[in-house]
């Protein structure tokens, strides 16, 4: 049976709109059914359903980290309240000379937010460990997650500065009494959420389905080259 254009196009779409899954075997199964007597309409319907299911599964994989990050970021005022004057007190830097005083001044502003994100990451990992969803966790991955979260936090904060376009806000406001304050309560959730989400995705960079897809490709190569 010679496949028509619709079937060829549908097979191509199925194998390329995979959302991290490997649809080669699925595509083969559908073709086998088509050759066995199923209609083109049935084939196209199956392909459409498979693509939609693939997209839903992909979204489902990222929804948990996203919801957790957003929910965790709402706890920041509590963290701020608990950590008041516990991180770097202004008295610590005024006695120091430049550049240490400036460095500590900036660190004093960023540290509560960074430690909050990292603590959130730790909580998420503990939850994953409890659910036994963490297969392996190297020190490289941990360092990558921590550094990515810091970079994303700073970038998202600067982006938020730009977005807010408040002339009263400048980089010096990244201080304990400045940007990360209750006044910006709703907007600070954005960099915190992005930062935590980036950390989680960096730490667990290969979604299970993508990892499986790689394993499948390797298997396929070994089958093709005996």
């Amino acid at each position: 049976m010679k496949p028509n254009l619709a079937v060829t196009l549908a097979a191509w779409m199925l194998e390329h709109l995979t959302f991290g899954r490997d649809c080669e075997s699925l595509s083969g199964d559908l073709l086998e059914e088509l050759v066995a007597g199923r209609s083109t309409g049935w084939y196209l319907r199956q392909v459409t359903i498979s693509i939609v299911i693939g997209a839903c599964e992909a979204v489902r994989e990222y929804i948990a980290p996203l919801v957790f990050s957003a929910a965790w970021s709402t706890l920041y005022p509590l963290w701020q309240f608990m950590g008041r004057n516990r991180f770097i007190h202004p008295d610590h830097w005024v006695t120091l000379g430049w550049p240490y005083s400036t460095m500590l001044y900036l660190a004093g502003g960023i540290l509560p937010a960074v430690t909050f994100v990292w603590f959130g990451l730790l909580v998420y990992l503990l939850l994953l460990l409890r659910l036994r969803r963490v297969a392996e966790l190297s020190s490289f991955r941990i360092l990558l997650g921590l550094s990515t979260s810091l970079n994303v936090l700073l970038s998202a904060t600067l982006g938020l500065f730009y977005y807010l376009k408040n002339p009263a806000i400048n980089l010096q406001a990244v201080a304990p009494e400045g940007f990360y304050s209750l006044f910006h309560i709703s907007s600070i959730n954005v960099p915190l959420t992005f930062s935590l989400l980036a950390a989680i995705l960096s730490l667990l960079p290969h979604a299970p389905r993508i990892a499986r897809r790689r394993k499948f490709r390797m298997q396929l190569r070994s089958v093709e080259q005996p």
């Binding site: 496949p3 097979a11 899954r21 649809c23 080669e24 075997s25 699925l26 595509s27 083969g28 199964d29 559908l30 073709l31 086998e32 059914e33 050759v35 066995a36 199956q46 359903i49 498979s50 693509i51 939609v52 299911i53 693939g54 599964e57 036994r132 299970p208 389905r209 499986r212 499948f216 298997q219 396929l220 089958v223």
Partner: protein, 111 residues
């Protein structure tokens, strides 16, 4: 606390069909057998999505088979139930059996 892996309805059906088919279980016979047992058509995509989830949980494992011309040269993916999968089926069966014991009987319709 013991770690339980209770199965959903479709997952349970899928695992039972895999056990029933044995070594010949790949997408096409699996979907046909499931459709036959359920009495309605099954989407092959949903079968694969469930198998993916079961494989991630370690209840199923897969290996690549031969590629045939009618499949457009695409390899078959054979699935088999793991030891953990078999245990999950037994655990689910035990729980369901216990729950079914308290199922009240339905009165016969006099009409």
């Amino acid at each position: 606390m013991r770690d339980h892996n209770f199965l959903g309805e479709f997952e349970l059906m899928l695992l039972l069909t895999l056990i029933r088919l044995g070594d010949e279980a790949y997408g096409v016979p699996l979907s046909r057998e499931l459709a036959l047992m359920r009495g309605r058509d099954v989407s092959v995509g949903s079968v694969y999505a469930s198998l993916d989830r079961l494989e991630l949980k370690g209840l199923v494992e897969s290996s690549l088979g031969e590629a045939t011309p009618e499949r457009g040269g695409r390899a078959k993916r054979y699935f088999r139930v793991t030891e953990q999968g078999l245990r999950a089926v037994h655990d689910t069966r035990k729980v369901l059996s216990r729950l079914w014991k308290s199922l009240p009987s339905v009165k016969e319709d006099p009409a």
